[in-house]
Symmetry: C2
Subunit: 345 residues, 2 copies
């Protein structure tokens, strides 16, 4: 869509003013913000044309204009200039990561909280995907006579552990055969290869040891499942109540939607890989509950590979110019931290 320079200036001003105040913006209040040497009537004419193009709309006949989803879209794609994140804020963010660095889950949870505080929106983050990761190591640490803790480490640095119980004593010889099986059948395997058929054929091949080993094997399989499955974390839910756009029970519906991890996970994984930051505005979102919300998602990379996402969810009149760079900055930071943590083999 081609717009005259003046139309662009007006559209941009309407969007930014509406984002700031939350009130529909009229021709006069627009003029006082915008140093243009034209009259309000001219602005009105231009706004009428922008309405005809579907970029602005009126809540009712005699009110100011607010941007449509398409209006926001045009603004984000063509008009917006990303704000810089100032240095002191940057230091503040980096400082908030304290010592939670070692555990990826904790790190991502923290990242969500930081982003929520920073943006005043609800924030979501996913743990690093296990896709393409393989099993680096499995250990069985005895806890009791019939109890061991199984620890599984993946090539992406994720560590999962679980207690396994057997109905038989787990003596040295049982553990030895456990390690043999693990070495032969698990280490080096992709996490996604550990599935039901694989387990079945493994069990079939175990022979006499099956009864004592089965609980341990099941635990390893469970852990692989857990590790390949990305977890979705949510922070700053209460921020949603701050945005007066969520009146009535839309706030409840949104919170309820955010609680279910599965649709959230889909939402995040659908974020475009090609773009730095993916912005979905209102009805561009695939879920009914998000019709009045915008979602800003960015992917973080570990060692150059896309591994997970971090994003925020707010009203469509979210402050794109400030928050898009914030999300971008935080995902990059998380990617760096994780890469750094696990680069030592």
């Amino acid at each position: 869509m081609e717009l005259s320079e003046r139309k662009q200036k007006i559209l941009g001003a309407v969007v930014e003013l509406y984002i700031k105040t939350g009130e529909p913006v009229g021709s006069k209040s627009l003029l006082s913000e915008l140093d243009m040497s034209v009259s309000s009537a001219t602005v009105r004419n231009e706004m009428a044309e922008l309405s005809a193009l579907g970029l602005l709309e009126q809540p009712h006949t005699s009110a100011g204009r607010i941007p449509t989803n398409e209006g926001y879209r045009y603004y984000v794609d063509n008009l917006m200039v990303n704000r810089q994140i100032d240095e002191s804020l940057r230091r503040h963010i980096e400082a908030s990561f304290g010592s939670a660095l070692t555990d990826p889950e904790k790190l991502l949870e923290r990242a969500g909280e930081v982003l929520a505080d920073l943006t005043g929106c609800a924030a979501v983050s996913t743990t690093p995907s296990g896709e393409g990761a393989y099993i680096r190591r499995v250990e069985a640490v005895p806890v009791g006579t019939r109890t061991v803790m199984i620890v599984l480490m993946t090539s992406t640095g994720v560590i999962k552990s679980k207690v396994a119980r057997s109905d038989f004593d787990l003596n040295a010889s049982v553990l030895e055969s456990f390690y043999n099986v693990v070495k032969a059948s698990f280490v080096g395997k992709l996490l996604s290869e550990v599935d039901t058929p694989m387990m079945q054929s493994l069990v079939a091949s175990l022979g006499g040891d099956v009864f004592s080993l089965l609980p341990l094997m099941t635990a390893v399989s469970d852990l692989a499942q857990e590790a390949v499955h990305t977890e979705v974390m949510l922070g700053g839910q209460s921020n949603i109540l701050h945005h007066n756009n969520y009146y009535g029970n839309t706030a409840y519906e949104l919170l309820e939607f955010l609680r279910r991890g599965e649709p959230l996970s889909k939402l995040l994984s659908s974020a475009s890989e090609s773009k730095d930051v993916d912005v979905k505005i209102g009805s561009e979102n695939p879920y009914r509950q998000l019709m009045k919300s915008s979602v800003i998602v960015s992917n973080y990379n570990i060692d150059g590979n896309r591994r997970g996402s971090i994003g925020i969810i707010g009203p469509t009149r979210i402050d794109y110019a400030n928050l898009i760079p914030s999300v971008k900055y935080l995902t990059d930071l998380v990617g760096e931290l994780l890469t750094q943590t696990f680069k030592e083999e």
Copy 2:
């Protein structure tokens, strides 16, 4: 406070009707619920006296009565009969614990979710306290040449792990001396004994090995800190929006309060040990944000020792008769599950 039988009956009926409908209850609507052979005027007189006693109040002059905090308190202490939890519900609850049994943190988180769904309130739960627990075992599992995962197990079955990095190669001899130090200084110690002075004197005694061992020791100490510190989990926040008593931004304030773990933790730990279930009504709570809320908390025991708490937070007109038994039932169940899981030594 002594009340005539009729006053008790009336007070009880007012409380229960108000809990059910949320509307102030008047003398007439009360009569139709209550099969008493008296007139509305008599009821009015009784209600006036209950008001004078501070057990009922009126939102405005010509409205029905609602219970005061003292009214609820009298009801809970003297009038209420605990409802039974029906068998099918009981089975449903037990089924919802699926396979999350092994990890206490997961179990408690799940318990919170279940309770939130069950009661329609926000639910909080704490992980088992490390107070009185000792270190049962510490393991160092090599991950890379300069990286090990430290795993700490406590006598209460909590397992914490953390990756530790050193600036030197962690060869077999370093690990051996690590295990020696652990055996001598950590295993069998109470978690609370691992504090800064203890660590300082330990470091002083390490001698030449200090540089390679220090990161590992620090990790062990961190894990002990983590294990002794109980974590507070929150579920069902969105349920708060359902209760129309939280109008305006009281809902936001409450959510914001619940987000901060520290006051929540204090709240839970202040639950009376003597009583089965501790109920705090409105201003009985020590926090301003809970003035309009009731908190129902119960402790769970592992092997007979109080280890943590589970509770719910809702409006003061919460359904005490049904929900107190629910909370009680769930805490007992959690206690049983945890005891069972860790009784094998």
